[in-house]
């Protein structure tokens, strides 16, 4: 085989190498650039307790947040339909996002009443400089017109978002967080939030 032939045969090889690099730069981007808002574990924003946990949409995930807080040894009070009065003495609001018609029905609320309640609560948080941590723990199943309306209404007011990643398959949370410069933590399952709660709230558990 002549030298020229070998050179020609190598051309597709170089092409493949260049194509691979080009693909990386165009479509597949490195982690830290793909989601600049994804928070590094050692660079988490800090929040203080005591905490008020409430729902935005009356989904059952508020109970998940309650168990997460309990297991994280977080000083928290859970009030499904909290109002500004419940913020008394609290240093953080944990808002559990997700609409459930069943939950709203059980609470005797419609969507407009619920949005109005949460809006008032968040306004009180702003007035009292209480930071808001938004959780979406229901994953893909807790998406849909009503839940998306809740998320779009209240997530922009959060200081941090913690989201079960199956609910973000279409990038819905990433987009809102990017637009509003909110750090976003994506987790695979709700129980992973325990560890994050301990880090965010600086909880030191006995060894």
């Amino acid at each position: 085989m002549s030298y020229l032939k070998i050179k020609l045969l190598k051309l597709p090889v170089y092409f493949l190498l260049i194509l691979g690099i080009a693909l990386l730069s165009l479509d597949f981007v490195p982690v830290n650039q793909a989601n600049p808002l994804q928070v590094e574990p050692n660079n988490l924003p800090q929040f203080s307790s005591p905490v008020l946990i409430t729902s935005a949409g009356q989904s059952a995930e508020i109970q998940l947040a309650g168990v997460i807080a309990k297991r994280a040894s977080l000083n928290a009070e859970l009030v499904k339909m909290a109002t500004a009065e419940n913020l008394q003495g609290k240093k953080t609001l944990v808002l559990v996002l997700g609409a459930s018609l069943k939950g709203l029905g059980a609470a005797g609320l419609d969507m407009n009443q619920e949005i109005s309640r949460v809006s008032s609560l968040l306004q009180a948080c702003q007035e009292k400089s209480i930071p808001v941590l938004c959780l979406h723990l229901g994953g893909e199943a807790r998406r849909g017109e009503l839940s998306d309306k809740i998320v779009a209404s209240f997530l922009p007011l959060a200081q941090l978002a913690l989201v079960v990643s199956s609910g973000n398959k279409d990038g819905f949370f990433t987009r809102i967080c990017q637009e509003n410069n909110i750090p976003l933590i994506l987790i695979d399952r709700a129980s992973e939030a325990i560890d994050y709660f301990q880090k965010i709230f600086l909880i030191n558990l006995p060894q």
Binding site: M1, I6, L9, K10, V13, L16, L17, G20, I21, L24, F28, V29, P30, V31, A34, N35, S59, A60, E61, Q63, L64, V67, R71, S100, L101, K102, G105, A106, G108, L137, G138, G139, E140, A141, R142, G144, E145, L146, V164, S166, K169, D170, G171, T174, D188, R189, A190, S191
Partner: protein, 577 residues
């Protein structure tokens, strides 16, 4: 050439090793989900099973291939659903089945609905003049005497060919080996998390280390497998008079219930004469009270028999308006007349008559919702916010043409939330199906069956089985099933298209209208017209489990085959051969 291959390999390896860890794969980007709601009809030439979980369908089909008939396969599917869809039905609950025996050309009904314990009374849920909602739903008092096992056993012994041992085998395998949890299972698990925590604790077998299951997690239930094994070895006596029964009584009484061992030992399934009616040149065979679904389906069909449905059109304002108004009038009858016919006189003949249907139809004003639906304020104590989802339905057709249409339930998803220790199954909360009103014909009382909304049915056309159908969905059952029937018979939709089609529902409480609940796919222009006609509208999700999860089999003439349709609002599927 050899050196060239090495070079190529090195470059590919370099790309893979160095660059792969830096790649964010497209799962973090927009990936639209596959549309599971796309209508899909399952075809089979000889036999078919349709149910709410693929593993349950597999269980039924296996029995058919082993030589079992439709009854054997239905019981195998029902038991498998206990393992694969445990939140909706199981041996802690009850139900109804409609059976068609092809050779005898006979239709029969088996009632395995739960009964109230002997110590029940009309005011058992009242304290200080107030109805205690918790007692009706998440409390020992909420649990009625389960009938599923007695019903399955009755059907097998009288109309089946196989033993409990044979038909429970797949249920045991599913419970033991487990399966990947679906998004439906996971979302329901999350919805009922509070109940499970309260009634069964963080160590519940229906939670994973105290948290709900996520999609893809493996759910195993070895305790349920053991319970089924015990039933295989010792028969249903182990449940109604033996060690499983003792655990049931202990669990119920620990949670404040009144069920006794005698209640459990006395339970028997009943064989009933089916309810029959015609609609044009179709015949409907369904369950009588204490199931109300069949009766109300017949009423709805009869109300529309003389109305120009085809002319009005599919999802037209006229159709939805008349249907909505008819439902509201029917709910008045339901509150006034219906209960357990073993204990009260139900004016069945009058309620299913064509004359009565025409009288209701004449009360409906075109283009205007009625200000009231009853001069009598009946049903004032009924729950005005019935949001709970529940129940399951399965259909089987075998090679000989035998048919089973079976609806079973533990009432609300995850029932009462009570799991008798070490058994792996959930106890029902069907006492909540009794009226809150102590004067109601459906008030709780010793041994009464609570009124059910179930309506499993078989429709015949020109003497031949045409459509096997049923659905879960509480009080939405008969509304949803009638809409599916109209979608097929009047509007010409194919079976699964008819099942997936947008649904709506309304009712009345105390003679007053409740909102018209609609899936969001109903056209806005139609909704605007309905608002103009006086309907308050509540828009729900596009495919909402609230409206049920219907399953059906449409049988082609001259046994040319059959189509199965299963509801994508849950995990329904079908298969045959």
């Amino acid at each position: 050439m050899f050196h060239f291959n090495i070079l190529l390999g090195q470059i590919i390896l370099f790309n893979w090793l160095i660059l792969n860890p830096l790649i964010v794969y497209p799962q973090q980007k927009t990936t639209p989900p596959v549309d599971k709601h796309q209508p899909q009809n399952f075809f089979a030439s000889k036999a078919m099973v349709v149910a709410a979980h693929p593993l349950a369908v597999k269980a039924g089909l296996k029995i058919l291939r082993q030589g079992g008939n439709a009854i054997d396969a239905a019981v195998a599917t029902a038991a498998a659903l206990n393992a694969a869809e445990p939140f909706a039905s199981g041996i802690g609950g009850g139900g109804f089945m409609v059976i068609y025996l092809a050779q005898e050309k006979k239709v029969t009904v088996i009632n395995f609905r739960e009964r109230a314990p002997a110590a029940s009374s009309p005011t058992m849920f009242h304290q200080d003049g107030q109805v205690q909602e918790k007692w009706r739903r998440t409390h020992g008092l909420a649990v009625a005497v389960p009938g599923a096992l007695a019903g399955w056993n009755y059907a097998l012994k009288k109309y089946g060919r196989l033993s409990l041992r044979e038909v429970f085998q797949e249920a045991i395998t599913i419970a033991e080996r487990g399966f990947a949890v679906s998004p439906t299972f996971s979302s329901i698990n999350k919805d009922e998390y509070e109940k499970l925590l309260a009634m069964d604790g963080e160590n519940s077998c229906y939670l994973q280390q105290g948290f709900p299951f996520e999609p893809g997690d493996i759910f195993r239930n070895p305790e349920l497998a053991q319970t089924f094994r015990l039933l295989v070895e010792k028969g249903t006596k182990a449940f109604y008079q033996g060690e499983i029964g003792q655990k049931i009584i202990q669990a119920v009484q620990e949670k404040g219930g009144i069920m006794t061992a005698k209640d459990l030992a006395s339970y028997q399934a009943l064989e009933l004469k089916p309810l029959w009616a015609s609609y044009k040149d179709f015949e409907i065979w369904t369950i009588p009270p204490p199931g109300s679904g069949g009766l109300h389906i017949i009423q709805l069909l009869s109300i529309f028999e003389q109305l120009p449905l085809k002319k009005w059109g599919y999802l037209s304002p006229n159709y939805i308006h008349y249907f909505t108004e008819a439902l509201r009038f029917i709910f008045v009858d339901r509150n006034l007349y219906l209960g357990d016919p073993e204990f009260i006189d139900v004016p069945l003949k009058k309620l299913v008559s064509k004359e009565y249907a025409q009288a209701i139809q004449r009360k409906i004003k075109p283009t205007k919702a009625a200000p009231s639906y009853s001069p009598v304020a009946s049903g004032l104590l009924e729950n005005p916010r019935d949001e709970d989802e529940n129940t399951t339905h399965l259909c089987v057709v075998d090679e000989e043409g035998n048919i089973v249409s079976l609806t079973q339930s533990i009432n609300h998803f995850f029932g009462s939330g009570i799991v008798p220790e070490g058994t792996g199954f959930l106890l029902n909360n069907h006492m909540d199906d009794f009226s809150r009103d102590p004067q109601s014909p459906n008030a709780p009382g010793p041994w009464r069956h609570p009124l059910s909304s179930m309506g499993p049915l078989i429709i015949f056309h020109q003497g031949q089985p045409f459509l096997v159908l049923g659905s879960p969905g509480g009080t939405r059952i008969f509304s949803s099933l009638t809409q599916i029937i109209f979608n097929i018979i009047e509007f010409g939709l194919e079976l699964d298209e008819a099942i997936e089609a947008p649904r709506f529902f309304s009712y009345s409480v105390g003679g007053k209208a409740r909102p018209l609940f609609v899936e969001s796919r109903i056209p806005a222009v139609t909704l605007e017209k309905l608002r103009q006609w006086g309907h308050e509208i509540t828009i729900r999700e596009a495919y909402d489990k609230y409206f049920g999860g219907a399953q059906g089999i449409l049988i082609l003439p001259q046994r040319q085959g059959m189509y199965g349709g299963a509801d994508s609002r849950r995990d329904g599927t079908g298969k045959g051969y």
